[in-house]
Subunit: 251 residues, 2 copies
Amino acid sequence: MLSSVDNVLRLVQLLRDTGGLRNKDAADALKIAPSTANRLLSMLVYRGFAVQDESHLYFPGPALAEPAIEDTGTRRLVLIVQPHLEEAVRRYGESANLIIRVGTSARFLSTVESPHPLRVGDRQGAVVEARKASGGKALLAELPRKTLERMYLGELAPHDQRMSDAEFDAFIAELAAVRRRGCAFNREAIETGVSAIGVAVHNPSGRGVAALSLSAPSSRFERIVTGGAEQFMRTIAEHVEDDLAGSLSSE
Amino acid sequence: MLSSVDNVLRLVQLLRDTGGLRNKDAADALKIAPSTANRLLSMLVYRGFAVQDESHLYFPGPALAEPAIEDTGTRRLVLIVQPHLEEAVRRYGESANLIIRVGTSARFLSTVESPHPLRVGDRQGAVVEARKASGGKALLAELPRKTLERMYLGELAPHDQRMSDAEFDAFIAELAAVRRRGCAFNREAIETGVSAIGVAVHNPSGRGVAALSLSAPSSRFERIVTGGAEQFMRTIAEHVEDDLAGSLSSE
DNA sequence: TATAGAATTCTGCTATGCGGAAAGACCTTC
DNA sequence: GAAGGTCTTTCCGCATAGCAGAATTCTATA
């Protein structure tokens, strides 16, 4: 048995079932040393399964709130998209990502990292708020207003995603601009110093199934925008759509 | 960085985001050897994060469908209940568990294992269907009928938990018997060869907050029932309730 | 029936991950 | 304000856990 692996899985269960705990609680519950618990909890924080507050308590992180999805061909999508992400990195020298939306979350399925020493790192597996991510906005922009209302307004909306009427109207206006422009931006909405441009990818029946994004340190970001990244990302998305259609018809 | 721990966390994310995969897919995606992927996936199966079907495909397991809960004092509850579980094991020689209900799931918070070589093992962290678990039934029995309808009947019910009208009526009748009797049974409903008796534990305002169960190999189970386990478990639950009330008033 | 690919098991080896010690932070009590 | 206790986090030496490759087994396809 892989004891370190087993310990971290039990720690995930403990976090899930207690809702929050201290390092010492974890060590006691799993009968491991506090230094071991500290290392394992740090890994959970690193991968988004836990967050630590300023009084050293650990709470369930965004990765613990995300349900599994049905198999919707994401493995195949990753393979199809990979060369296109590589092309985007070659062209602009910045990190490129494949993203899907699940509810109000955006999930990174894969990253091709920029070769620059200062770069946005591999986000594979990471989960962020769709409303803040460039790829998330690109996908949300294609949803009917009623769907967006259910997601972000009133009692049916997830509590932490709920917007005021004013916030919601501003968001709708922003998404209208995304539709006009054919791409969305995130300027440090998720992480200080990181900006991104994202476009939606559609299946043959026209539904947004994923998004591609190019992310860069903000210091280099405007340069890629003025360097034609908007049109380039739209073109890449079209190529991906062609490949998707082609791969479906060869089954 | 703990590479084996990091790999398994990334594997959890991969399983969540793909909805199902083969061993080789996992190895390729994480850039690890197939033998490594196999060992890690086996750990995920063991702890309920994955299930493997008969064609060797891995799918998200019950542990991946369970949301984190708010901190409701489960750590304190575990400490308060521990000596009572030990008393039950001393008295009957079988494994004793502390369980909470979350939605339609029952979660094992802690286990004190029987000293017998043949015994029901430590289930801490495990998740089962509440409707099948003795502790789960004890807690469900205390819910209003309308709540049970939302959980198990019609479109609002989780798809995998949905019952027909006939099944639901039979379940309601079973829960009425649980209320009359003050305890619930699971006779091999979850795992072949394992039976259990469970009772609810209430907070001072009378709400069921947890359950205690005694689980045994079915071959020894009737002996503990005829040995007064029903009344014993009810008594233990009362003692736990007294301790809970006492610990609240000392804060 | 043969072949190829994948899954799983086995095993030697080395790099990982353990726990203890130490340092630092914080809270409580006097 | 000082002392003491507890907890968190970091560091480090060491033992073994967990790696990948090889071998074996299984399954699907031609």
